[in-house]
Amino acid sequence: MSGITKIAVMRSQLGRVRGLGAAHGGTHHWWAQRLTALALLPLSLWFVLSVLRLGGLPRSAVAHFASHPVNAALLAGLVLATFHHAQLGLQVIVDDYVHHERARMATLLAIRGVAALLGLIALFAIGRLAFSG
């Protein structure tokens, strides 16, 4: 090998491994993103087909649909997987583009808060539909 370029880096290989980059963590997040993506494949397919069947029908049809335990469970699963997946995905984007540490943390907390709140509201709505329909 000729002409080796030496690049000075003030950081050891171990430090790189321990530091784990801009997000300070990684494998768990990565797995959760893939797992929720896998769950969303059948769930979103089922959801689109269900909405197509409910399109144009009155509210009572939606309530009747959601009163079936399997449908209620799948709706709740869709909501859980969607908000978990969305929040994980949005975090990656924030990690990439928001460099100021305080702003990054504030944005991440806001995303988690909104995702948790919307998810809980959706779950309670599904519960009410399921038990009233």
Binding site: G3, T5, G55, G56, F124, A125
Partner: protein, 143 residues
């Protein structure tokens, strides 16, 4: 002190020389290619779908609250703005769905050869168009 990010930019050429590589495509410098355009589209549709959850939550809450609230959502979804948003949401979902499948295949170690990548990329675009159109044909017929 050297920027520690440089530690992540070290690579080797095919003849083994150490070189510095850019960390990620610089949008101002790179010519758009199907690989990079589809990649940023996955991100864009992920953001669009996240915003779209507001419509999902509104729909569920309205259905739980009663007929008047439900009529309001149903009316919005049939308005020009509602149709535009819903169309964007279905197109985003199908794109993200198909590109997500492609991502999961890569995670399983499949499909990294460049010709395969170009072919699967084109397949994602065609499948998105077909699925979106199909959804709307069935949806309009059901209304």
């Amino acid at each position: 002190m050297t920027d520690t990010r440089e530690a992540l930019m070290v690579g080797r050429t095919s003849d083994g020389r150490l070189v510095q590589r850019p960390l990620s495509p610089h949008l101002q410098v790179y010519r758009p290619q199907i690989t990079s355009v589809l990649s940023i589209l996955h991100r864009a549709t992920g953001i669009a779908l996240s915003a779209g959850t507001l419509l999902l939550v509104w729909w569920l809450v309205a259905a739980a609250r009663g007929d008047a609230a439900y009529a309001a959502v149903a009316g919005f979804v049939r308005s020009p703005l509602g149709i535009l948003l819903l169309f964007g949401w279905t197109a985003s979902l199908w794109y993200h769905f198909c590109a997500g499948l492609r991502h999961l295949a890569w995670d399983a170690g499949v499909g990294y050869e460049l010709p395969t990548m170009h072919r699967s990329g084109r397949a994602v675009l065609i499948a998105t168009a077909v699925l979106t159109l199909l959804t709307w044909i069935v949806g309009v017929a059901a209304m």
